[in-house]
């Protein structure tokens, strides 16, 4: 089971939020799915970090804004993974609740859909769970929007490099079996992969898509197995990353390289399949030996009671640290000043020193691998601690 109910959390936050006087508070708004197709990801990656950050800041006595300590008050809504709903709630945050700052939404589409609303009110949006190749156009249009998790191309490039390395090492041939979830994100990555893998001389011998929420992935895996390719790539989402692994184990998929995208880095992934998924590759990664990351992961466990995921959790927390340091540094709640501060400065976060060039932070992990119970980063941009990739062999415990 990789998800827990959020009622305990909401209750805890309600208590934390109401016991203080409003004028000493900084109102923070957060909208992300708690139900619907994207809830599975948001409940692991987004919500626990928002909660962790608010609790930690308030435990320290709040934020020092120009010499006055202010506590954080969190207002949270469930967008039900529905853009119309999300837009309405974003307008509510901005014009009814009049929050001081917001946590950027979860999911590429939601960040882009709300950028005009938040832009109009000057909210800095430090997007994490948003991966796109259109960054330049988007940040020109919405100067308050920041990206921190990398581009579509970077993600495909990470996988391509590993494919080339493994081919050179003789673990795989030129043949690749590739599947993708037929939704915006999966289609975009698969489209890019066809181009980049082809350029690198790979032959995609099995190329199939399946709709988001396909309950039965057995035919997909049977097809991939029949193709005989020694490398399997899946541009997948949370429910299907699990379903594919399950079918791979049942079919005993004989590959030396197995990659599934989102949710492979979730602790529950290992929770479900134990050591059978050793040497499985996935999107993301982290360096658990880094002291800052280790301390962050411990705090995450202590306060939320859950193990942090091995990818965007740290980025999400880092984005909140950036917001925090920008508010303190700018010494004001004036959003334009804070936004400018984010553009002009660098920030000390769990992901290391982060700064923005054209609203883009180029520090992120792109590929990680389960190695003896830990999901370690193997490819990334401006990150240290990458470990060598291992070949996959079999699905036994």
């Amino acid at each position: 089971m990789y998800r827990r109910s959020f009622f305990g959390l909401a209750a805890a936050l309600a208590v934390a939020g109401t016991s203080l006087f409003a004028q000493d508070m900084i109102k923070i708004g957060a909208i992300a799915p708690k139900t619907g197709p994207l809830a599975g990801g948001a409940v692991v990656t987004q919500w626990p970090n928002v909660r962790l950050w608010v609790e930690e800041v308030n435990a320290r006595g709040g934020l020092d804004v120009g010499g006055k300590m202010k506590m954080l008050e969190l207002i949270e809504y469930d967008d039900k993974t529905n853009p119309g709903e999300h837009i309405k709630l974003a307008q509510r945050l901005a014009t009814q609740d009049k929050v001081d700052f917001i946590v950027a939404p979860y999911g590429t589409g939601f960040n882009i859909a709300t950028a005009p609303i938040y832009g109009k009110f000057g909210y800095p949006m430090i997007a994490v769970s948003a991966i796109t190749d259109k960054m330049e156009e988007l940040t020109t249009r919405y100067p308050n929007l920041f990206f921190t998790l990398g581009t579509t191309t970077a993600f495909v490039d990470g996988v391509k490099e590993i494919l080339i390395e493994q081919r050179d090492a003789g673990a795989i041939g030129n043949e690749v079996a590739m599947v993708n979830v037929a939704d915006a994100f999966g289609i975009e990555l698969a489209d890019r992969a066809r181009e980049l893998f082809g350029e690198a001389g790979f032959d995609i011998v099995y190329d199939k898509s399946y709709p988001l929420g396909t309950p039965d992935l057995s035919p997909v895996m049977k097809g991939a197995k029949d193709s005989g390719a020694k490398a399997f790539i899946a541009w997948s989402y949370p429910p299907d990353s699990f379903g594919l692994a399950e079918q791979a184990i049942i079919e005993d998929l004989d590959v030396n390289l197995y990659y599934s995208a989102v949710a492979t880095s979730f602790p529950a992934f290992k929770g479900a399949y134990g050591n059978k998924i050793n040497n499985v590759l996935g999107a993301g990664g982290t360096d658990v030996d880094n002291p800052a990351i280790a301390a962050y992961r411990k705090a995450h466990m202590d306060i939320t009671g859950e193990v942090a995921d091995y990818w965007a959790s740290a980025n999400t927390y880092a984005s909140l640290q950036i917001l925090e340091q920008a508010i303190v540094g700018a010494a004001t709640l004036d959003r334009d000043v804070v936004t400018q501060y984010i553009k002009d400065n660098s920030f000390d976060t769990v992901m290391g020193e982060l700064s923005f060039t054209n609203n883009f932070s180029n520090t992120f992990w792109s590929v990680g691998q389960w190695q003896d119970g830990v999901f370690r980063g193997v490819k990334g941009s401006n990150v240290e601690g990458a470990v060598p990739v291992r070949a996959k062999s079999g699905w036994s415990e």
């Binding site: 708690k34 139900t35 197709p37 809504y77 469930d78 993974t81 529905n82 853009p83 119309g84 709903e85 837009i87 309405k88 709630l89 307008q91 509510r92 901005a94 014009t95 009814q96 590429t108 589409g109 882009i112 859909a113 950028a115 005009p116 796109t132 190749d133 259109k134 156009e137 988007l138 249009r141 579509t152 993708n180 037929a182 939704d183 915006a184 289609i187 975009e188 698969a190 489209d191 890019r192 898509s209 709709p211 988001l212 929420g213």
Partner: protein, 310 residues
């Protein structure tokens, strides 16, 4: 549905003119609610044009809405087309699709039609995703325009006005007369020589056209189109419930249903977020057990009893 009067048309015109000032009086959240109200008014009224006289419960709104959003997204992102040309194209595609569905199902009993439309949005989402994945390729469907909520509000207001006007014209035409007979008794209608299937298909096609137009207008608001989200089946149920809550006896019925439903929904949604879907369920049961003719039916009942007393 009763034939609409000239008096009603004048009232509707005054209302539309007044509604046009809403963006000047509100912004942000309440303007956003206004956009929702206009969107559902257009969808529910066009739903009513078809389902009011035929009593067929169509759950296809989400499918047409999704087609409109997807055509705009794909056209603007993949082919650099303009918003306006894609708006026109989506209306055509929505209409053709509706006509095909109508031809396949409307000759038979209403149950088959309901079942067919029940999963239609989901099926078209799968089909569209498959086509996009295998034939179009895509770097994400972005709909980046300079439209604000006020612009979209006015566009939807015009659409809703057009739907009303069309309904008004139909209700006074030969087609409207034919439909009233079909609604009364379809067998009788066939015996007096009305081509019932054609009449139904024509009306269903208008539903498809307007559904797609509304979807296309909403696309710039969402900015980034994911098939999974534009084809959300929940929209179909919203349209049905708002139309029925208003009542199917009058062309202006949906407006009376849309506003209270959206206000209640938003109130529950922001206060008891986890329970909001229950509101939809309860609303359906209220219709069946307590308000079978909607608010319109209740209003006319009160009016009749008031007249009876005086």
């Amino acid at each position: 549905m009763k034939p609409a009067t000239v008096q009603e048309l004048i009232w509707a015109g005054v209302l539309v003119a007044l509604a046009a000032f809403w963006p000047m009086m509100s912004n942000g959240y309440w303007l956003g609610i206004g956009v929702d109200v206009m969107m559902y008014t257009a969808l529910a009224t066009s739903w009513m044009l078809f389902s009011g006289p035929t009593h067929y419960i169509s759950l296809a709104s989400a499918a047409f809405f999704g087609v409109g959003g997807f055509v705009v997204g794909s056209g603007m992102s993949d082919y650099d087309a303009s918003f306006w040309s894609m708006l026109a194209l989506s209306a055509v595609i929505g209409g053709v699709l509706a006509a095909l569905i109508g031809l396949a199902t409307l000759r038979l009993s209403g149950v088959y039609f309901v079942i067919f439309t029940l999963g239609l949005a989901e099926m078209i989402r799968n089909l569209v995703s498959w086509v996009q994945n295998n034939f179009l390729g895509s770097r994400g469907l972005y709909v980046l325009t300079d439209f604000t909520d006020a612009h979209l509000y006015w566009m939807l207001l015009v659409t809703a006005g057009c739907v009303y006007l069309l309904g008004w014209i139909i209700s006074r035409s030969r087609l409207g007369f034919a439909l009233r007979i079909i609604g009364g008794d379809e067998t009788v209608a066939r015996h007096v020589g009305i081509n019932t299937a054609t009449a139904k298909v024509i009306l269903f096609t208008t539903t498809g056209v307007f559904g797609a137009i509304v979807g296309a207008i909403i696309a710039p608001r969402w900015s980034y189109i994911e098939p999974n989200q534009v084809f959300s089946p929940q929209l179909s149920f919203f349209v049905v419930i708002m139309a029925l809550l208003g009542g199917s006896g009058r062309l202006w019925g949906p407006v009376v249903g849309v506003i209270p439903f959206l206000l209640i929904w938003n109130w529950v949604d922001s206060n008891f977020s986890n329970q909001s879907i229950l509101v939809l369920g309860v609303a359906f049961l209220v219709i069946v057990y307590f308000l079978p003719h909607g608010f319109v039916g209740r209003i006319e009942q009160l009016r009749a009893s008031a007249r009876g007393r005086s």
